[in-house]
Amino acid sequence: MRETLFHGGTVIPVDGPSQNPDAVAVREGRIISVGSLPEVEESLGTKPVRIDLSGTFLLPGFIDAHSHPLWAAKTRGAPVVDIRAETVPTHEAVWRKIERRVAAARPGEHLLFFGLDAQLHDGFKAPTREQIDEIAPDNPLGIQTSNCHALYLNSAGFAVCGIDENTETPVGSIIERQSCGRPSGKIAEAITWQALEVFYEAWGDDRLNDEFKATIDEFIRQGITTTTEHLYLPFYKAYYLSAIGRGWPLPRIAAYQQAVTPDMQVELMNVGDDRLWMAGVKIHADGSPFIGNIWLTEPYLENEVTLERMDLRAGHTGSPNYPQVYFEEMVRNYVSQGWQMTIHTQGDRTIDMVLDLLEEVLADFPRPDHRFRLEHCALMRDDQIERAVKLGVLSSFFINHITHWGAPIEDVLFGPKRAAHYVPAGSAVKQGMRISLHADTPMTDPSCLHLMQAAMTRKAGDGRCLGPEQCLDAETALRAVTIDAAYQIGKEGVLGSISPGKHADFVVLSGNPLSVQPDEISKIKVLQTWLGGERVYHA
């Protein structure tokens, strides 16, 4: 019988009855006791493996409640070229990099670039099909925006993706066109992700498996032992099973299937002991604030960025992704199958629409513990939070919008008042909601310590604080990446805290996130990661 004893450090159980425990016992991958060292020793046999924490801090493994590990491997790993503004500073520099990559390309090689950014790339101009054709006449080439929601293609790219003047625009998608109907370069929302699959497929499975391994390692290095695959598609399963089969240290995965399959069937899936399971359905009610695809009651600000770079009309208030009738039909169908719904909502008008619908659906089919979630929640208003709490609807906040795009959110997109209430995690907690935080990888890099710091300081890249009254305290922020995140994926009984009976998933940290200065949290080092009683990472 395999037994492990952790001692010699500070145990932060996050939840549960133990008061200031200093030891934890693990048997066969589960926690069997938590308490003082003599108490805990008593619960074990004579020869447990003793792990001396040497004054460091033992916490439950982190949970990022909304991410896309496999999709991140597809989107960000080589041979995708990183052109995010943090790497390539200006629009001209992006263009030069694309030219150099095309010059080094093999004939017919599929080329993809990730990270074009209307807000962060100085001198941004939306590329046209003709401009891309000029530098890449032969190779299929796509330039994906940093928010993942849009893709610019050249003619060869449109050809391999099978999109032309005769292609009908699918529901929930955008194809920008010339007056003759010919696609003019930009596509957005659902069709983007279908088009990208053509590129990923062209690169083959070896590439994807290598990149998937690298992505998994990164989550584990950050102490993340459970996360989600939002936008799961049925063919992902093979890659996941292969990862488990090869013994890779895959975090536990709650899959949320993408609501696009025409028959709206969701695969029942439950692999291993809480290793990989179908948790629910992900559906987009709107899109990204950074390309204007969200639905608002108050319009965007009007300036060079919104009117020229983003090409929005004055007074732009956006729209939902799907016609309301169609959206309602999808939601009702999935709800009737009994799935947990996680709904992508950014604009406040979208949230009005979704709450109206959920209220109706729940009146028709009452479900006591549905845990329906709203994802990201950029511009959620206080009255909407109140409504959500009454309905039992939960928010998962994409807090890194503040750290990565805080300045443009305030200065050019929404103004100071809306910026101070952007991703309003503080309001939600005050009204009694159990919230979670997420990095939405690949949009931002996985790190729950960074999420905590972002939610506690709300500091943008330039140091300004967006809405100090929305800052979380350390304990709430920690719960939002452990036990409350476990609650949101329906696994609070087995994950999210150091309590007897739960999986022995831990992170060992160099500092205590509950007591260091909020600005210093991301400096804390992840020293070890434990998954199901096995050490899977050691610094």
Binding site: V81, D82, T87, V88, P89, T90, E92, A93, R96, K97, R100, R101, A104, G463, D519, E520, S522, K523
Partner: protein, 316 residues
């Protein structure tokens, strides 16, 4: 521009591929420091070739020089090593840190940016050295890595320019102009360049600057000139910030001791590298209350006439 409570120790980082010339540059810094106390962190002592007669004491991971400088090996815990020196009674005038030749220098930048938040150090200058002779032989991946790193630097040294053909240098120049637009690019041989570009100018309380000859060539490197002015009039804060915007567009580095209107007699120390500028409280009062500004820029972009008129505008 952030206004800091007290003066902090500037940190300069030096990045570049193996063999690009990082150690050469560090040797220059250690030999030319004048009377500044510089603490240098390097990857490998073996590569540092310090003249025997300059060395005061040496042990396995620390060499003290007679001129007051110290050279340390970079260990796992850079941050606590820095803190040791900061708590020293003889505080260093600057830290210089060599990034490992294989690691991404931006990772080092990030940990220094974090340290900066503690208020004890100031991120001053990020230098990246490119081997001008080898760059064009690098494959696509390596070349792009170098370009990405250079784009994150304040100052890029296109080193070994003597070994590269003129046409190659020109195409290199074009690559970095297009892809590292926020970095100042300088051609060097053996990393020879003025220490003032690396560590910044020294402000002198005995006022060596001459107002009648405001632009003068900089010793050590032609192609760069310096400009300086001083005034007894106290400056308006918002007009000064406006002036700094122009300064940033025309010069690479600037430093100043500034007396503002409606503030105490304690001057602010102003430093600017590339597009980043900070103000911080000087450590001691200054009886004379004369504001000074000194700037360094490329001879073809530092526009003396406009600087003069903007300076006058600021005084008005």
């Amino acid at each position: 521009m952030p206004d800091q409570a007290q003066s902090r120790i500037p940190i300069v980082t030096i990045g570049g591929f193996l063999g690009s010339g990082k150690t050469t540059l560090i040797n220059h810094v250690l030999r030319q420091t004048d009377d500044q106390r510089i603490v240098v962190f390097v990857n490998d002592f073996g590569a540092i070739n310090i003249d025997y007669d300059l060395i005061e004491t040496a042990d396995t991971n620390r060499i003290s020089l007679k001129n007051g400088c110290v050279c340390c090996t970079l260990n796992d815990d850079l941050i606590s090593s820095l803190k040791l020196f900061m708590d020293d009674t003889d505080r260093p005038d600057a830290f210089v840190i060599e990034a490992s030749g294989i690691a991404d220098p931006r990772a080092l930048d990030r940990s220094i940016a974090l340290l900066e938040q503690t208020g004890s150090v100031r991120f001053d200058n990020r230098i990246y050295i490119v081997d001008a002779d080898q760059f064009l032989n690098a494959g696509f991946e390596d070349a792009e890595t170098i370009i990405d790193h250079a784009a994150a630097a304040d100052l890029v040294l296109l080193n070994k320019q003597d070994l590269a053909a003129a046409a190659d240098l020109q195409s290199l120049e074009a690559v970095f102009a297009g892809s590292a637009p926020n970095s100042t690019v300088l051609h060097t041989c053996h990393c020879r360049c003025s220490l003032e570009l690396i560590l910044g100018q020294r402000l002198s309380s005995n006022r060596v600057f001459k107002t009648e000859n405001p632009v003068e060539p900089l010793s050590g490197h032609h192609g760069f000139v310096s400009w300086s002015r001083e005034t007894k009039r106290k400056l308006d804060r918002s007009k000064f910030e406006q002036f700094v915007k122009y300064l940033a567009a025309t010069s690479y580095r600037a430093k100043g001791r500034i007396f503002f209107q409606n503030q105490t007699n304690q001057p602010r120390i102003f430093s600017m590298v590339g597009r980043r500028a900070v103000l911080e409280m000087a450590r001691n009062d200054d009886a004379e209350q004369i504001s000074q500004i000194v700037a360094i820029g490329k001879a073809n972009s530092l526009d003396k006439t406009r600087l003069e008129s903007w300076f006058e505008e600021m005084l008005r």
